[in-house]
């Protein structure tokens, strides 16, 4: 039966005059369309899950099949479709790699993109470009999924109806003609920040050609405080660049330089290189940090001071007071004293600042004061002065030329619009209707503009306010270029033709300028030929091939920081009062996953847990435990450390977070409250980028919109906020609930001093030194032999030998792992891991093969409220145990060992008993409870007849080298077996008739290893004594997690070290986790001088002290 209210479907009918039944009909609202699609009214009874027509369809198909009988059993004919004309370089079945780059907020990262028969599937870092280790960021890894987002805009549109690309070109031509007529009067362009030389060239040309036009740039996440300060103090067109490679003492002031700040990827490598410790004599840098939020950078800190973001200028002033300021000091001192007086009133803080400044001053030229990118120019200005006085200019901090040119701010553009000075507004990228400061009422302003043309990747909030929506192409579809943090120029190559006729920003700009060759390639080529590196076509080809010309970037300029200018700058600057329970501080942070909201519809990122608070799919109002206690979120009688939750909020084993109303001035927003230790007591953190009103299916209803309480005067933080209970609750999706290690030595951590005194400390932690010895008489057998012969030790059972040519193993250095989560998504992209959706994550069914366990320790019983915790992160994937517990319980031999030590999964054999997951001590096995690869996430629970199938676009994101798993199958980390096999095959192809079949060390990089910006993960062959992984396994810091279980994991860890300063008031001679470990095991001894009470235990005798490097096996 055809629905009565049948809807016109042809385009002419839709656009022509028509009658409507309701406002919903007129607006074609989704609810209305859905209702139209339905056969029966909402209350009519329907077959659940299947409608009548679908039922008949299925039945008809079954009858047809039945009639065909056995004739249906013929082998289906399939075809091989070779090219008509073989393209150059393309070998069917082999991936091709292209150098390219990924840009975010004007910082490009060098990439190597893997393409399979023309579709990009995996982003890798460009290993040839020094300084990045071939690493990439979390967001870069996930950006490939956006290309295949079925919710991306697919048509150019004019007032909601599709137009063709040629119509868009006509539009741009018309705009161009209008522009040339009046020098760009009443015309404005609003763009995002970019470092692209081509865009720079076009911008300059635009400003020259149309002098009256307005060129505005806006980024919701501000990162230019440093550049503004440099312009104030050091000279025009300068900006500071930081360099952590030589920094031995680092003070980070509200900076997340390992996480969200510009340059983070590069800093991660530099910072990690200064922290990598291999022997007890190695040196290590020291990180002091003052911050309001708990960031991954804060987790790495040796000393961490919780401080409200609004107090950071005062904190910096306090540091400045404690170093030599020279002649300029006299004028500045009173200003600094004034700024820092309230902070220094607290004795502990005063001592912290003094001792920290002391340490920095003792490392002149080798220290660095890093100021968070979002902080005010004033704070940055003080930071610059301190760095100059510490002799860091030209060493760890250099000034470079900033040639980004002039642009007005969003505020100035808003003024122009409200003064009716703008007739045509072209918005290139961004999403200002969603993320502009609320006081500008940008959405309302757009009504005052006659014509709004918008270039956008999604049909988002801004598109709905724009008359024209021009389809933006993905960066993997278009030509472009960009500059790294240091300014080195990188190409951006298209991997595939635009899937939907999209255009890039530079192509639109070129058309507005009336350039004759307005295609991306010509534009980039022309920029390159005009640049210094230019040397004809060959140089350009080399540029594309290598992915860069040289590492040289922005021009370095020597300049001094003027103290008197600083005094001028700070004149009239005062910082707000420190926040209190009645007047809270609100800190807006760039979300680690969805960024400023641009990745809101990216499933990989939405499902990836936040590195620290471990929330997925939603954002919370993040508060400190102290504030939570005062607000009554935790039960008043609960010992907050152990039972922090109000038992009333745990129902059916699920935790519900209370929803609070946050009021900032007269603005308010509601969100679920999440308690995170380590926050400044009265600072609350609001991650940006959620609560979008117009987004795709993934981002729908995710979190609350923190932009709705953010104004132009409070871009980084706001003060004077209050929280009010609403009485409602919301179930946040958190993937990790641990607060404490409960005394187990899962992470082993010590101070550097302690390590240098007792180099064998690692082997004395944990149960291994007390449980029966794992390797028995074979304790001192070399690693190479151990992994092949699998000695029996004290076990009842004989273990089979491993006979393969290689024995794979992995080592993860906890000391340099920053917990950035890039490995989680890299693994997801490489191994076709599905996302499971919010509801399934709440049930603990996320599929990530590698996870980052985050532990807090606050010293057990030391404090009632864990205000100053230390944070540790530990990546955990399948450990590939030599005597794997999972294998013994599989009834169908679906998980078995291979000859090279891999614990393999034969998906076809798996019948889904899940015994293996139960028996896995590391909880790394993941089960396909549903056909996540085939079903839409909101229809998982429908029966077998429900529609199946993945959108074609999404299918293109799959890696053809990895099987896609179906419902009812267990899966887990395979050590990227596809990469191992490919490397072995390549080696054998090369060997031909020789016996050189061993894969050289470093050839195979697992996806997690490859993406890691700090080289924390090392994979290799354990039979080769010179391989990196063998070396690390024999290192004295090496240990196995839960080694006493005799599972003999192939993944081992290097213990974590901290390097605190004994002078500091918050110095503890042991890290808090170690204190906790000691307190939880009062009867157990560890360390030296207690061997006699345990002499019957081999694994714990005095030998261990003499020969700890070889004792590694004993601790297995």
């Amino acid at each position: 039966m055809k629905p009565l209210n049948s809807n016109p479907t042809s385009k002419a009918e839709l656009t022509g005059p028509r009658y409507w039944r309701s406002l919903d009909d007129l607006a074609q609202s989704p609810q209305f369309l859905e209702q139209v699609e339905r056969e029966f009214g909402p209350e009519a009874s329907e077959l659940s899950e299947v409608d009548r027509r679908h039922f008949f369809k299925i039945m008809a198909a079954s009858f047809a099949l039945g009639g065909l009988g056995f004739s249906g059993c013929r082998r289906p004919e399939s075809h091989i479709l070779p090219h008509s004309k073989a393209p150059e370089h393309l070998i069917p079945g082999e991936p091709l790699y292209y150098a390219s780059s990924y840009s975010l907020r004007g910082e490009s990262l060098p990439l190597l993109v893997e393409t399979h028969t023309g579709r990009p599937t995996k982003i890798e870092g460009n290993g040839d470009f020094e300084g990045y280790n071939g690493g990439t960021s979390l967001k870069a890894q996930a950006s490939v999924l956006d290309l295949y987002d079925p919710d991306r805009a697919t048509h150019h549109k004019q007032d909601g109806s599709s137009i063709s690309q040629s119509e868009v070109f006509d539009l741009l031509k018309k705009l161009k003609d209008g522009l040339s007529g009046n020098n760009g009067d009443r015309f404005a362009i609003l763009t995002e920040k970019s470092s692209s030389p081509t865009r720079q060239r076009l911008k300059n040309a635009f400003q020259k050609a149309y002098p009256k036009a307005i060129w505005a740039e806006y980024e919701p996440v501000e990162t230019d405080g440093g550049a503004k300060a440099a312009k104030l103090l050091a000279g025009p067109n300068l900006k500071p660049l930081y360099d952590f490679s030589q920094a031995e003492r680092i003070l980070s002031v509200d900076g997340d330089f390992l996480g969200q700040d510009p340059g983070a990827l590069k800093f991660s490598k530099q910072f990690a290189d200064g922290r990598r410790v291999r022997t007890s004599k190695d040196e290590m840098n020291r990180l002091y940090i003052a911050e309001s939020n708990m960031t991954i950078t804060g987790a790495m800190a040796d000393h961490r001071k919780r401080l409200a973001s609004s107090q950071m200028a005062g904190f910096l002033a306090g540091i400045a007071l404690n170093i030599e300021l020279g002649v300029e000091g006299d004028a500045l001192k009173p200003i600094f004293e004034n700024l820092s007086s309230s902070l220094l009133a607290d004795e502990k803080t005063k001592a912290w600042i003094e001792k920290c400044a002391d340490d920095l001053a003792h490392h002149k030229g080798k220290s660095l004061v890093y100021v968070g990118a979002q902080l005010s120019p004033e704070a940055h200005a003080i930071g610059l002065l301190i760095n100059e006085k510490l002799g860091n200019l030209g060493e760890t901090l250099t000034f470079v030329e900033d040639d980004s040119g002039d642009a007005v701010s969003l505020g100035e553009l808003a003024d122009a619009i409200s003064g009716n000075g703008v007739e045509t507004l072209v918005i290139l990228g961004g999403n200002p209707v969603y993320n502009a400061p609320v006081d500008l009422d940008f959405s309302g302003l757009l009504d005052k503009v006659d014509s709004v043309v918008r270039l956008g990747y999604y049909e988002d909030e801004t598109s709905y306010k724009a008359g024209y929506h021009i389809l933006q192409a993905h960066y993997l579809e278009t030509w472009g270029d960009g500059r790294t943090y240091d300014g080195a120029v990188l190409p951006q190559q298209p991997m595939i033709l635009p899937l939907f006729d999209g255009l890039s920003e530079i192509e639109v700009l070129a058309r507005l300028l009336g350039e004759t060759n307005a295609d991306g390639h010509s534009l980039v080529y022309e920029t390159f030929q005009k640049s210094a590196a230019s040397n004809g076509k060959r140089a350009f080809d080399k540029f594309l091939h290598d992915g860069f010309v040289s590492k040289d970037g922005y021009k370095k300029r020597h300049s001094l920081v003027s103290g008197s200018k600083l005094a001028n700058t700070l004149e009239g600057f005062s910082q707000p009062e420190a926040p209190t329970a009645e007047s809270l501080e609100v800190v807006f942070v760039n979300d680690a996953k969805v960024d400023d909201g641009r990745y809101n519809n990216n499933g990989w990122l939405q499902e990836c847990p936040d590195p620290i608070n471990k929330l997925t799919w939603d954002n919370g109002i993040i508060v400190s435990p102290r504030l939570a206690k005062e607000l009554g979120i935790v039960a008043p009688d609960a010992t907050i450390q152990v039972a922090r939750k109000n038992p009333n909020r745990v129902r059916d084993g699920r935790t519900f977070a209370p929803v609070y109303k946050l009021k900032v001035g007269d603005l308010e927003v509601e969100g679920a409250v999440h308690i995170l230790p380590g926050l400044d007591n009265y600072s609350i953190v609001l991650p940006l980028g959620y609560g979008r009103s117009k987004t795709g299916r993934v981002g729908q209803n995710s979190g609350y919109d923190a932009y709705s309480v953010r104004t132009s005067s409070s871009m980084a933080f706001a003060t004077g906020a209050t929280l009010e209970a609403t009485g409602r609750e919301f179930q946040l999706t958190n993937t990790q609930e641990h607060w404490s290690m409960e005394g187990r030595a899962i992470i082993r951590e010590a101070n550097l001093d302690y390590y240098s005194k007792s180099p064998d400390w690692v082997s004395h932690m944990g149960m291994e030194s007390h449980s029966p010895p794992i390797y028995g008489k074979d304790k001192y057998m070399p690693t190479q032999e151990k992994v092949t012969t699998t000695p029996r030790g004290e076990s009842l059972y004989e273990h089979p030998d491993h006979t393969g040519n290689h024995q794979w193993g992995m080592n993860i250095d906890l000391n340099v792992c920053t917990g950035c989560n890039a490995c989680v998504v890299a693994c997801q992209a490489e191994n076709n891991i599905p996302i499971v959706g919010r509801d399934q994550v709440r049930r603990g069914r996320e599929m990530h093969w590698i996870r980052l366990d985050r532990y807090f320790s606050s010293g057990l019983g030391k404090t009632e409220i864990p205000e100053d915790p230390q944070v540790m992160v530990q990546p955990v994937g399948c450990m590939h145990c030599e005597t794997a517990p999972c294998e013994q319980v599989c009834p169908v031999n679906a998980t078995v060992h291979d000859s090279e030590g891999l614990n393999t999964m034969a998906y076809n054999r798996c019948i889904g008993t899940r015994y293996c997951a139960n028996n896995c001590p590391y909880k790394v096995r993941r089960f396909n409870f549903f056909d996540y690869q085939q079903r839409p996430l909101d229809r998982l629970y429908e029966g077998p007849l429900a529609p199946k199938g993945k959108p074609e676009l999404l299918q293109m994101a799959q890696n053809p080298d990895v099987s896609v798993r179906m419902r009812g199958v267990m899966e887990k980390c395979t050590y990227c077996t596809q990469r191992i096999q490919q490397a072995k095959i390549d080696q054998k192809v090369e060997a031909r008739d020789s016996d050189n079949v061993k894969v050289p060390d470093g050839t195979i990089k697992t996806a997690c290893e490859q993406v890691c910006p700090t080289n924390a993960i090392v994979f290799g062959d354990l039979t080769d004594p010179d391989s990196r992984v063998s070396q690390l396994r024999d290192n004295e810091l090496n240990y196995s997690v839960l080694g006493y279980l005799n599972a003999r994991p192939r993944t081992t860890y290097l213990a974590k070290l901290r390097n605190p300063n004994p002078e500091m008031p918050d110095y503890a001679d042991q890290p808090l986790s170690k204190l906790e470990y000691k307190q939880a095991k009062p009867k157990m001894d560890y360390g030296k001088g207690h061997g006699d009470s345990h002499d019957k235990h081999n694994g714990h005798d005095q030998d261990a002290h003499h020969d700890s490097a070889r004792d590694e096996g004993g601790s297995h």
Binding site: G93, N805, T974, D993
Partner: protein, 218 residues
Amino acid sequence: MSKVFPKGANSLPLKIVVFLGIFVTTTLASITYYVTPKYTRVGYEPIQPVPYDHSFHVNELGLDCRYCHSKVEQASHANVPASSTCMNCHSIIKTDSPLLETVRASYQSGEPVPWVRVHQVPDYVYFDHSVHVNRGISCVECHGNVNTMEVVKHVEPQSMGWCLDCHRHPEEKIRPLDQVFNLDWEHPGGEKAQLELGKQLVNSWNVNPPQSCSGCHR
């Protein structure tokens, strides 16, 4: 009381047992025979859109396998030639043969020739041609004597057990590298000499074909 069951019913249980015995045996036997790749795959000989005759091109014209399957030594996939490869010769010779119309049309239009796939491993099997041909396993071991086939035919079962037979005893099949593409080659010394040579090659080349799941399943 009258008899409920006729006398003949006494033999019914036996009949049932015998019948079931025969039924089960034939069912099992037919399953083991008919529902295995040995039966379902071997002998598959589809009609191709272009009647390309391998035996003619190899034996009469002396074409090497690698002229058309050019990437077999470098890639996992032994590519089927692009139409442009055919046209290298056929733009000069037999330029108006009606049999080649499909190829010419494809070359002109850019549409591929829909060759019918003869050998197909399941999606979860990752077979690699390059590693086999570069390590002394000839095409003939899996594809049979294609050089004598007018129409390509599936001659080996290509089942997992069949793969493993060879992976367990590579010495039976391995041959010197210069003979890999000579499909007619057999060791002149016969089976025993082949075994001897095979063992020696396996040893000196360190041939260690994977027998674990991870070798082929990823």
